[in-house]
Amino acid sequence: MSTPSVEGRPLDDAALVERARNGDVNAYEELVQHYQELAFRVAYQVTSNAADAEDAAQEAFVNAYYALGRFRSGAPFRPWLLRIVANEARNRRTSATRRTLLAERAQAAQTSGEAAPSPEAAAEAGEIRSTLLSAMQRLGQEDRLILAYRLFFDLSEAEMAEALDCPRGTVKSRLSRALGRLRALLPADLGKPPSESVNG
């Protein structure tokens, strides 16, 4: 995915935000067009449900529009928006969604961790990716979100601090803890060469 870079669009975003603050709906629509994929995918990381992610992203864009009056001029728009998106997504996690997630995670566990793949299959890059993503799904939503911000969406530490509403120094430690928890969810023999697994 090609995610919009703050560095590449500061002037564009700033100009569009300023126009939107003055009631220019066309300017805001342009911002939505630019960030809707990122917003939807971030929301999906939280909800794991396309309908909820769509609702959350749409609600976040509307709420962000009405909150533009409190947006600090010159600040990066992307992490500010993502904070709103993630909050909306968290709110969408209804009990029904949680039940669905639990079922999906249980299924993922059966097909990845507990039901260990064969050494040959585990040696395949596709299997590794699949297992990593399954492990991601089994993480808590905050761990999943911080990993996705950094590794899927390429947010800088400063952007992550803004999006997660935490001090910049906390980002590294939270990221490290999330990685540790992800690592613990990986099957023991994932990534071993087939012969090593067979013989060892």
């Binding site: 629509e29 749409q58 990593l132």
Partner: protein, 265 residues
């Protein structure tokens, strides 16, 4: 490759980046037009608004009913395919068809027309705009002068007695158009799970479509289709009143929709 559990953080991050680049996300929906419509319907200037923390009564999740979407080359629009579908002429301006399955469509555009006032809309259409006496003035008005005779849409937010339609984010939409100028203006395609019923409003012919979403295709000229999809969870009552064809889309039951329709002046 070392066992992933034992690799360094940077190596694990690299593997995750690779996995993330192939993450199986669902297709991104087009949110821009829905967001725009919601903002236009509640046009508070953001710099002075505090609405973000207010629970708005009409939590719009607009994507559908109101989201008119261009179909990108759906086979359904092929004239040969279209003619092969059984259809019925009943209400002028509307053709209702039943299809075994709805076409696959992609979201690309919202087309409500231009937001305007009732007075301005009246000056742009060739019929008398009717406002339901039970509902009072609409929360927003749109006009589309590209439709023969003009098309007007009245939008109402949810309120007591008018439930939120989740797919539209609105309570109720009323569309009015000159059905006599374009007998096949709207092609409504209903799938097998959509209930389609022939009925009448004040003795005039009507259709009641309820249940599952159906697709609307707007035909501007005999060979020129403006393709739109209406992902309705809402129910639709469409009827003819002299030369004007009216459509109510809402979450109301048939009897409630009929009650509004029969009391329209």
């Amino acid at each position: 490759m070392a066992e992933l559990r034992q690799v360094s953080d940077s190596e694990l991050e690299a593997s995750l980046r690779d996995a993330g680049s192939r993450y199986p996300y669902p297709p991104t929906p087009n949110l821009a037009h829905a967001v725009r419509a919601r903002i236009v319907l509640a046009p508070a200037v953001p710099a002075t608004s505090r609405r973000v923390n207010v629970v708005r009564p009409w939590r719009l999740a607009l994507v559908a009913g109101l989201v008119l979407v261009f179909l990108a080359g759906a086979a359904l629009l092929n004239r040969g395919t279209r003619d092969a579908i059984a259809h019925f002429f009943h209400v002028r301006g509307v053709v209702v068809t039943k299809a075994s399955a709805l076409p696959s469509v992609s979201v690309s555009s919202l087309n409500l027309g231009q937001p305007t006032s009732l007075e301005r809309a009246q000056s742009l259409v060739s019929f008398i705009i009717v406002v339901p006496s039970q509902l009072g003035p609409p929360d927003a008005v749109y006009v589309d002068p590209s439709i023969p005779g003009g098309e007007v849409t009245l939008a109402y937010k949810p309120r007591a007695g008018i439930p939120l339609v989740r797919q539209t984010g609105l309570g109720l939409l009323i569309t009015e158009v000159r059905g006599d100028l374009s007998p096949e203006l709207f092609l409504k395609v209903a799938g097998p799970d959509t209930h389609v019923e022939e009925t009448s409003v004040n003795g005039d012919p009507a259709w009641w479509l309820a249940g599952h979403p159906h697709v609307i295709i707007v035909q501007t000229t005999p060979e020129d289709y403006r393709e739109e999809r209406l992902r309705l969870a809402a129910n639709t009552l469409v009827w003819e009143d002299e030369s004007v064809t009216l459509r109510i889309e809402s979450g109301l039951s048939k009897s409630d929709a009929m009650d509004i329709a029969t009391h329209m002046p």
